[in-house]
């Protein structure tokens, strides 16, 4: 056990730090609260800049303009990005999830066709997985794709599609064999979102915004050469994408949560409760301490998991505890924020008296989604129960 950075890790960090020092945009704060439709060109430009510095996809192999970064280096990357409050990248699904899946399963022609434009943010990718009747039970999805000569004809509906409104391409999971067992009849298609018959509708979520879309496919023709991996092996291809989703995402959360709690402590010093500053109230102090401690423990868990994956080479089902831990912690954190802010906690962005322009009311509502998106807490507990502890499958 040695928690000091190795020479390689230090060099990686220092190179990134000095690159960020002269390249990270200074005006992101002016953009971040605008609607994403307005700021999207800005995010594309930022990604192109990262790509020019070979920082857009550090986990990718060197031959695809990555840096073959180790898990620990990836964690360092996200920490440094969070430290300088860098904007997100426009094509975050393409870079984080879909690109790696294409590199793993794609043909040479597919890699050459798609990878460069994922990197340059020229083509934005979205993910067509969930359906109205296939959420946690993803393998039960019903979108049909029928082979007609050299192309598939796709019909059905997808939901909870991030970046659907701006997506040029979609990693779409479809049913190609209705007679096979539910995991065995699925195929992944790479679909041009400009194809006739694709309709994208915004999905208004409980925060009032529309981060996600619903996708409707009516007789959409997709060339058979756009199958990713093997026909009827889509479950494995899709699972590999989800594995990336659970991989390094947690790394950046430590600093983000710390920023929340630091700001909250500042607010608690300036908020009166029961005749004294909230920061002096013993109950508030207990809650802030609990939360601060859990933020550190989240990071310890992540570092242990990275070391384990580095040693064994495979991300295991233990990763489910990270997902449960960060999502439930974020909800507890926002609840404490509400307790400290009192009636001000409910004020939305735009209200002149809202604290931090409504950041806390937004976060309070948004964190309800954390225990649902990317695998519900219930599914994560099923994974731990069955795959880690060896209990019989409950479903």
């Amino acid at each position: 056990m040695d928690l000091n950075l190795t020479a390689d890790e230090l060099q990686f960090r220092d190179e990134l730090r000095s690159w960020l020092a002269s390249n990270v945009p200074k005006d992101w704060n002016e953009w971040r609260e605008k609607p994403i439709e307005e700021s999207f060109p800005y995010l594309r430009a930022w990604q192109r800049r990262l790509q020019e510095g070979r920082w857009a996809a550090v986990s990718w192999p060197k031959e695809y303009a990555g840096r073959s970064a180790t898990l620990m280096q990836q964690a360092i990357f996200w920490e440094e990005m969070a430290r300088v409050e860098a904007p997100p990248m426009a094509n975050s699904l393409g870079l984080g999830l879909i690109g790696p899946t294409i590199i793993a399963y794609g043909t040479e022609a597919q890699k050459q066709r798609y990878i460069p434009k994922i990197l340059s943010a020229e083509e934005i990718w979205c993910q067509g997985f969930s359906e109205p009747n296939a959420g946690s039970d993803l393998a039960g999805l019903q979108m049909q794709a029928a082979l007609h000569g050299d192309h598939y004809v796709v019909n059905g509906q997808k939901v909870w599609t991030s970046y659907g409104w701006v997506g040029d391409w979609c990693e779409l999971v479809v049913r190609t064999d209705a007679t096979a067992a539910k995991h065995k009849g699925l195929t992944v298609l790479l679909v041009d979102m400009k194809s006739p018959g694709v309709e994208v509708r915004p999905l208004r979520q409980m925060t009032g915004e529309s981060e996600f879309n619903e996708l409707f496919f009516r007789d959409v023709r997709v060339p058979a050469e756009n199958v990713l991996g093997k026909v009827n092996d889509g479950w494995n291809v899709a699972m590999s994408t989800l594995m990336y989703e659970r991989g390094s995402y947690g790394a950046r959360l430590h600093l983000i949560f710390k920023r929340y709690i630091t700001r909250l402590i500042e607010l608690a010093r300036n908020t009166q409760r029961n005749g004294c500053a909230a920061a002096k109230d013993p109950i508030i102090r207990q809650k802030i301490a609990q939360c601060s401690a859990e933020i550190e423990i989240m990071r310890f868990n992540q570092m242990r998991a990275f070391s384990r994956v580095t040693a064994t080479g495979v991300p295991g089902p233990e990763g489910s505890i990270q997902k449960i831990f960060w999502s439930e912690l974020n909800q507890r954190l926002q609840q404490i924020a509400q307790e400290i802010l009192g009636p001000y906690g409910q004020l939305l962005a735009g209200d002149p008296r809202a604290i931090d322009n409504g950041m806390w009311s937004y976060a309070y509502l948004r964190t309800r989604g954390n225990t649902i998106e990317a695998g519900t807490s219930e599914v994560q507990r099923n994974i731990i129960g069955h795959f880690v502890l060896g209990l019989p499958r409950s479903y």
Partner: protein
């Protein structure tokens, strides 16, 4: 950065697990807990042969000179076996206090025999007010003599000498000294017995000042948290095994999500406690500036988690969980004693609060 165990750390942990499983299986643990002191001389000499009695102390005093992470691993395994007797009191607590406060002459006199396995000891800290805040200690030595009472002193009946924390220094008292009286407190944890120690004009040798106690207490606190991790792991293992084999409605009860999700939470709480304990061990070893806060984080989290894991374990066992013959309640009893030892979660949360709220941010080392 490598937050996994090295090969030699894995080896130490693995051999400790095998040692405790072989020398102190459940039946032996239960036999010892039914005795007055839970001490067994034969087991003690085996612990000594393993080098465990000198694990973290300098070779100059007959110790093995290993680090705090190694100590955490050993205590985790001792906790898994619910090792009865004065190992924690003697080696981890008294040994660390002597190591932290005493001169080398006093270390030769008091620490070296501990390392060699020749003596047992403990540290008397709490008084009637049961406060872990050193400012609340009232017992004061005058003219090299002590008069007063200490409560909740672990394993005092088998101690050859008792280290006493007084207001004006740290003292060593021979347990046979005139005016010293040891009487049992009847407490939940049968594997670690507690006593009242009374001093009446009792001769005491000053071995150091109280100023350096904090680090020794941090080591002991982290070690208690490590024991709790081992206890949680054992409780989880026993419970999962039961959930796989116990059948109701024609199915193993582990198939029901109401049961399975509780097991998943036990796993999450155990693993998170373990991460916090390993980090605390590392921070202590490196003398990292956040070491004390790291210890508080570990003790705070593990204290609450051990109780919760025990609650879930007993519940999942149903009626069996409520019986004397099931081991889960023995871990639950230990967890209660350990929860309050060196400050419960509330105490440590306040320590964390004063670090993060009152003196700016203190956080774990990050990249």
């Amino acid at each position: 950065m490598q937050f996994g165990l090295s090969e030699s750390q894995e080896f130490l942990k693995d051999s400790a697990r095998k040692f405790f499983a072989g020398e102190c299986p459940s039946a032996e643990m239960r036999r010892l807990m039914e005795t007055d002191t839970a001490f067994d001389a034969a087991l003690w000499s085996k612990l000594t042969d393993q080098g465990y009695t000198g694990i973290i102390f300098p070779e100059a005093y007959g110790g093995v000179g290993l680090g705090k992470v190694e100590l955490m691993l050993l205590m985790e395994e001792a906790g898994r076996a619910l090792l009865p007797g004065p190992f924690f009191s003697t080696v981890v607590l008294a040994g660390s206090v002597i190591d932290a406060v005493a001169s080398s002459a006093h270390k030769q006199k008091y620490l070296a025999p501990i390392c060699r396995g020749e003596t047992r000891s403990t540290v008397a800290i709490l008084e009637a007010n049961a406060s872990w805040n050193p400012r609340d200690i009232q017992l004061t030595a005058s003219n090299g003599k002590l008069t007063g009472e200490k409560y909740f002193v672990s394993d005092a009946a088998v101690a050859d000498f008792i280290i006493v924390v007084a207001l004006n220094g740290v003292f060593a008292v021979n347990s046979k000294a005139p005016g010293l009286k040891i009487s049992p407190m009847t407490a939940m944890d049968l594997t670690r017995k507690l006593y009242v120690v009374e001093f009446n004009n009792t001769l005491a040798e000053e071995i150091g000042a109280t100023t350096n106690l904090a680090r020794a207490f941090d080591v002991a606190t982290a070690a208690i948290a490590a024991e709790l991790v081992g206890g949680m792991q054992r409780t989880l293992d026993i419970t999962v095994e039961y959930a796989k084999t116990r059948k109701q409605f024609g199915k193993p009860i582990g198939i029901f999500q109401a049961v399975q999700h509780q097991c998943a939470d036990m796993y999450l709480e155990t693993e998170s406690s373990r991460s916090a304990v390993y980090y605390a061990g590392w921070a202590l070893e490196e003398n990292s500036p956040d070491a004390s806060t790291a210890v508080s984080i570990a003790k705070m989290y593990a204290s609450d988690a051990a109780r919760t894991v025990g609650n879930r374990g007993i519940q999942i066992h149903g009626g069996m969980g409520f019986t004397w013959e099931n081991d889960v309640h023995l871990y639950y009893r230990r967890a209660k004693g350990s929860e309050t030892a060196f400050g419960d979660a509330t105490f440590h949360r306040e320590r964390i609060a004063s670090a993060v709220i009152d003196s700016g941010t203190v956080s774990a080392k990050s990249a």
